[in-house]
């Protein structure tokens, strides 16, 4: 099991803090700090007691001085005894206070011994003074001289102990200082740890907030995505429905036009045959009834009817594509060769695809190309001459690769399409011609769209028209 990073951080901090505290404690114990502090305290007490001990010593010495100067009396004797008792008591206290340090204790012991000896000598002085008698003053001075040395010794011994005690006090102070530093460090560590813990928690919270925000954004994005997909699906469904309705309508139209076309073409055929018969019979009979114009009109009428039927059949036809690999330039060249274009039209070929082979339904694309060429030729031949010589012009057929497209451009130098007409040219049944059903460009676009491509028309009045029939590059077949 893995602990998430956000929960792992406080755990690590806790371990670090415990470790730090442990290390500090171990360090403190190794340095013997507590006992040094304790000794320091005791030394402090000891030095206070030592100062106090000095007072009864001086009182004893004072009493002795009074005795020596003023002679024996009750009062001085009492002072002496009280001072001795206090000295003994304080030495006992001093001893207790010094018990912490054997070295100091040894000093105290030596002090106690010296004190007792000194006091004993001074007691002898007092006893002698009390007894009195002749010549005692001389004896008293003789006795006092060595006794007073005891005072000096005792005071000196008292002073000797001060050094080690002060050392202990100093060590205690150092220990307190060290402990203060350690304590400070510990507090710093704890504060740092607490800060880190809080920071970590804060960071965890921030991370959680960020994650929550991110999740909210993700949900928002997914919602938008979903809405968009619903919209797209709805649009696709609507398109599919429209396409279905359209294809059903086309299927019905196809059946209808198929039947109507066949039914119409038979009588048209009969009329055509009969016109042919009339024409031939007149020729054979050698009679000139001046009927040629009439017969030509009838012929043209039949051909126009036939053209309309062809257009309707082509548009309604719903066969699937039957693509074949086709070297577009060569195929287009042959197609152009087959066309019998009206006089006055110069054809310029600008094919730049070399041997590029594309997968196309040749019949369909042929239909589309011929349709556009017919339009171009009509545009040129019907021109009134504003843009050059009436009925004369250039038809340019070019092919090229253009990014993701393979393009066939058919351009004419006709009068161009008026601006108000341009948006309507792809609408089925729209036509500006005085004849035809207006399906031409709809068919061309349909054919190109069936191939995954399209039809684009650019035109400006007075500058001709450029029609681009394009195929997606995916229709290009790799040779070899």
């Amino acid at each position: 099991m893995t602990v998430p990073a956000t929960k792992r951080a406080p755990l690590l901090f806790a371990i670090a803090v415990v470790g730090a505290i442990g290390a500090v404690l171990v360090l403190a114990l190794l340095r013997d700090l507590p006992s040094r502090v304790e000794n320091g305290k005791r030394a402090h007490l000891a030095i206070q007691t030592l100062d106090e001990v000095r007072r009864p010593f001086l009182e004893i010495q004072d009493a002795v001085t009074v005795l020596m100067n003023e002679g024996d009396n009750e009062s001085v004797r009492a002072d002496f005894q009280r001072a001795v008792a206090r000295g003994q008591g304080l030495i006992a206290d001093y001893r207790a206070a010094a018990a912490y340090n054997p070295e100091v204790l040894r000093h105290v012991d030596r002090l106690a011994v010296a004190f007792e000896a000194w006091v004993e000598d001074e007691q002898a002085v007092f006893d002698l003074a009390e007894r009195g008698g002749p010549g005692h003053a001389g004896a008293l001075h003789a006795l006092e001289a060595p006794a007073s040395k005891g005072f000096s010794l005792t005071m000196s011994l008292l002073g000797d102990a001060e050094g080690p005690i002060h050392d202990d006090i100093d060590r205690g102070s150092e220990a307190v200082a060290e402990l203060t530093v350690i304590g400070g460090a510990l507090i710093a560590v704890l504060a740092g740890a607490a800060f880190l813990l809080l920071w970590s928690r804060n960071r965890t919270l921030r991370t959680m907030l960020a994650e929550r925000k991110q999740a909210a954004e993700e949900i928002h994005r997914l919602n938008e995505d979903l809405e968009q997909r619903v919209e797209e699906r709805t649009a696709a469904l609507r398109n599919a429905q429209a396409e279905l309705v359209r294809s059903e309508r086309l299927a019905t139209l196809g059946q209808l036009t198929g039947t109507v076309a066949h039914e119409l073409r038979n009588p048209l055929g009969a009329i055509m045959n009969s016109l042919g018969v009339i024409r031939l019979k007149c020729q054979k009979a050698g009679v000139s009834l001046d009927m040629d114009k009439s017969l030509d009109r009838a012929d043209r009428g039949i051909k126009r009817c036939d053209g309309i039927i062809t257009e309707l059949l082509d548009f309604a036809r719903s066969k699937g594509l039957q693509p074949e690999p086709t070297a577009l330039d060569a195929w287009l060249g042959e197609l152009l060769d087959e066309q019998q274009l009206p006089e006055g039209i110069t054809v310029v070929r600008d094919c730049g695809l070399d041997d590029t082979v594309v997968s196309i339904d040749r019949d369909e694309v042929r239909r589309a190309v011929i349709n556009v060429i017919d339009n171009a030729c009509q545009a040129i031949t019907n021109a009134d001459g504003d843009n050059g010589i009436a009925g004369c012009g250039v038809l340019t057929v070019a092919t090229r690769g253009n990014g993701e497209r393979i393009e066939i451009e058919i351009a004419d130098t006709g009068p161009g399409i008026p601006e108000d007409v341009l948006p309507n040219i792809f609408e089925p049944l729209f036509s500006t011609k005085s004849f035809g059903v207006g399906l031409g460009l709809s068919i061309v676009r349909q054919v190109m769209e069936h191939h995954g491509g399209g039809l684009e028309i650019a035109s400006k009045q007075g500058q001709g028209t450029q029609a681009v029939l394009w195929l997606p590059i995916s229709r290009v077949q790799q040779s070899g």
């Binding site: 076309a261 073409r265 038979n266 009969a270 055509m272 045959n273 031939l280």
Partner: protein, 122 residues
């Protein structure tokens, strides 16, 4: 142009008779049948130079009739005629051995040109 012995098969009498008359004026000898069955009988009974047959016929259609005729006359040129644009049936017609699919109405001059190629074949 040499005279050809032709058979026209079409159930549309006006069309068939008008076409026959036109072809006769071009100088050919023409028989007419109005059903597929009659066409097959005629083809079996006479060695025609070419047959012009409508695809949409009652009973046996033009393609089926052509298939029957091919059994006894494997080489006779046969033009199938249709009021539809080139469609699936027309493709079947080519597979059945039709020389060409002609779309009605037929242009007399181009029809005569096509027949001329038949006449010039050995």
């Amino acid at each position: 142009m040499s005279e050809l012995k032709l058979l026209v098969v079409d159930d549309d009498r006006d069309f068939a008779e008008g076409l026959a008359e036109l072809l006769e004026l071009f100088g050919h000898w023409v028989d007419v049948a109005f059903t597929g069955e009659a066409g097959i009988d005629a083809a079996n009974g006479c060695d025609y130079d070419a047959i012009l047959m409508d695809i949409s016929l009652p009973g046996l259609n033009g393609v089926e009739s052509l298939q029957r005729i091919r059994q006894s006359r494997p080489d006779v040129p046969c033009f199938l005629m249709t009021g539809y644009s080139a469609d699936e049936i027309a493709r079947q017609g080519i597979e059945a051995g039709a020389s060409e699919i002609l779309t009605k109405p037929l242009d007399p001059e181009s029809l005569e040109q096509r027949l001329a190629t038949v006449g010039s074949d050995p």
